[in-house]
Subunit: 409 residues, 2 copies
């Protein structure tokens, strides 16, 4: 092999307007270029503590245990579920899109007894539906997605949290695609564990998974005893002797590293921590409410532009995520050819879709650094151009005009 073939990293200048990942905020990339410090350096533990404080604001919580999992958003999901679920534990999962299926599948890997509450894709679950299922199943944990990018639908959570609290059931929420682009109130809504990632509205690269854990959730996972690499004598088991099925994702051990004990676990992914910290700083400097409002404005402008072009939106628009819009691929238009022209002619990425929606909708996102007027207008103008060349009948300029109306220009 000639390694000379492989030049330095020099990616094309994409505008990433799919369901994520999106372009990272340049400030995040600059923060990630800072040099490393040691795992227990006072500077490092200081940055860890600051990151915990910043993400308490992001998650809108007083939870002490608010920290990062060293992996992508999926790693953060798995850390929450594998630490909470013992074999045979009952889990209830509302499934209304692809990422509900993922929660089912991960729970099954944990050996849990998984019950699903199947909702048609594009709809949400009601508190009544959830309560009926809880009464029937009597689960230890309910696991749900907040914003499922596969359908663009945002699950309302306030009432679900109340129902879970009333029945003494722990509630886990995957907020990867929704956080800081949509309202999320961990404490007010009684959410026991919430996880996310950086690569959506937080404006960073994939590879770090912020989580927050309620005192009740932490007490539950800590009832399993603790082991560190044979150095301690005991294993981390629950009262039935069931060990947590992962060392890397063993939350009690990870908490002992992030907490004052500073017990050694894996070497923290320092550069990703620098990035996660900067993502939160950017959002909080703008103001969390303003950040969410910005996502709402740009999402509405995008939706208005798409309908103005004569396209049909997918799913229940009254429960649509602010930051991603599903667009029905018009009859007679080759969906993948349009995406390819957007990418190769305009360097703009829009999203395909999965499962039952494959080939039926595109998903267009406006999130994080790319929740900007220029990004939305550029995408609309390019898409209109590509669609007209693909034979779709639309009047030039109508998409951008409709979006500009939303922006108030």
């Amino acid at each position: 092999m000639s390694i000379d073939r492989f030049d330095q990293i020099n990616p094309p200048a994409r505008l990433l307007m799919g369901p994520g990942p999106i372009n990272a905020d340049p400030r995040v990339l600059r923060a990630m270029s800072a040099q490393l410090v040691g795992q227990y350096d006072p500077a490092m533990t200081g940055y860890m503590n600051e990151t915990m404080a910043l993400y308490r604001e992001i998650f809108q919580t007083q939870n002490q245990w608010t920290l990062l999992i060293d992996g992508t958003s999926r790693a953060a999901i798995e850390a929450c579920l594998v630490s909470a679920l013992s074999p045979g534990d009952k889990v209830l999962v509302p499934v209304f899109g692809r990422f509900g299926h993922l929660l089912v599948e991960i729970s099954q890997r944990c050996g849990a007894e998984v019950h699903t509450l199947e909702i048609p894709w594009g709809q949400v679950v009601t508190a009544k539906q959830l309560e009926d299922a809880i009464v029937k199943v009597k689960p230890k944990l309910v696991a749900t997605v907040q914003g499922d990018t596969s359908t663009t639908v945002l699950q309302p959570l306030a009432e679900l949290g109340e129902v879970c609290q009333k029945h003494g059931v722990l509630l886990y929420v995957d907020a990867t695609a929704s956080i800081v682009g949509n309202e999320l109130l961990t404490d007010a809504w009684h959410l026991d564990a919430v996880s996310c990632g950086l690569q959506k509205c937080l404006g960073g690269p994939s590879g770090s998974g912020p989580i927050t854990l309620s005192p009740a959730f932490v007490e539950h996972v800590r009832n399993r005893r603790h082991v560190e690499a044979g150095i301690k004598a005991e294993h981390h088991t629950d009262s039935q002797g069931a060990i947590i099925r992962s060392n890397y994702f063993d939350l009690p051990m990870i908490l002992d590293y992030w907490g004052e004990e500073r017990l050694n676990h894996h070497t923290e992914a320092t550069t990703m921590l620098y990035g996660a910290r900067e993502c939160a700083r950017i959002v909080l400097q703008e103001g969390l409410d303003k950040c969410i409002a910005r996502h709402q404005l740009n999402g509405e402008a995008l939706a208005a532009g798409l309908t103005g072009m004569g396209l049909e939106l997918y799913g229940d628009q009254s429960n649509r995520m602010n930051n991603v819009v599903g667009v029905v691929i018009p009859a007679g238009v080759a969906g993948e050819a349009v995406r390819s022209s957007m990418l190769h002619d305009f360097c703009i990425e829009i999203g395909t879709s999965f499962g039952p929606l494959q080939g039926k909708i595109w998903r267009i996102g406006t999130m994080g650094y790319n929740a900007r007027k220029d990004a939305v207008l550029t995408t609309l103008a390019a898409l209109e151009n590509v669609l007209r060349r693909a034979g779709f009948n639309t009047s030039p300029g109508r998409a951008v005009d409709a979006a500009l109306t939303v922006y108030g220009a």
Copy 2:
């Protein structure tokens, strides 16, 4: 909370001369500051393929399945073990340091029946010892560490590989701390799975775990069937119906993402991939043999300087890793006070130690970007100064003189 308290990332200018993490090569940090592209962008899949080719050189293998796990080196260990081991499978682990204990503990989490071959810390296992244990235990897999930084000892692997091949046992090796600082020949030594991380001799930040898998290892893990998030109908189970206990670390699914099928798994940690790719480029541009020789030279100079200062080295020096030296803390010297003075007066980090060696040795590393003459001499001069002020009797300048002799100056 006032977020204004938290300024931009601006870490102190440490010289990291512990057992890792070490300072990242500035080239790696620059590569990681490149903007993102989409998960299936031709540029992204191109970079993934190039990364696979680069790490085949690093691992000295023809293995097709040579790729990155999105997490730290510990994540890469767990991905190999959890994908290979079904509940009840017999594993044999030689334990001669902290990281052997970690392999035991992770294997137990997988539900395996774990047998250990206990070797006194600071020594290595012989092929005869391993073969006797294999004959007795009849394991499916042997899991061992190559370079255990807890003891600074390098386990010779060529004969172990032969023994495992002879008995039809799979051999997994954790090469996190040793790779590119010490010889590692995956194919020539018949290693079936090898994992590592970036934060040691590869000169990058923690957070990406390169692995390579032999065809036999891949065939073994693929004998478990496959599921993706409920989209596919089947679960990933072996002939006994035992499911792989992790979705995130399910190697057959990850291979289908890195392979030509490009099936969706988690969103690749793009920035970490940029970093991992640059780490490998730097090593291969220097030349792998030259890189290992540079670690050997600097490790010898460091060891000579330390003994020249009148310090005693720890462990079997005939099997010492090139890139880390254990130093016995002299009687009457407060080990942690010395480390603290090194950090706060000189901004140099040297390592403490764990378990039975806690408080008994320091560990000083010279690896990756920090396997340099100036870094070694600076560390020796500073340590000599700190030790003299701590009451240790040594002649000024002898440490650096002894190191310079090794450098041939």
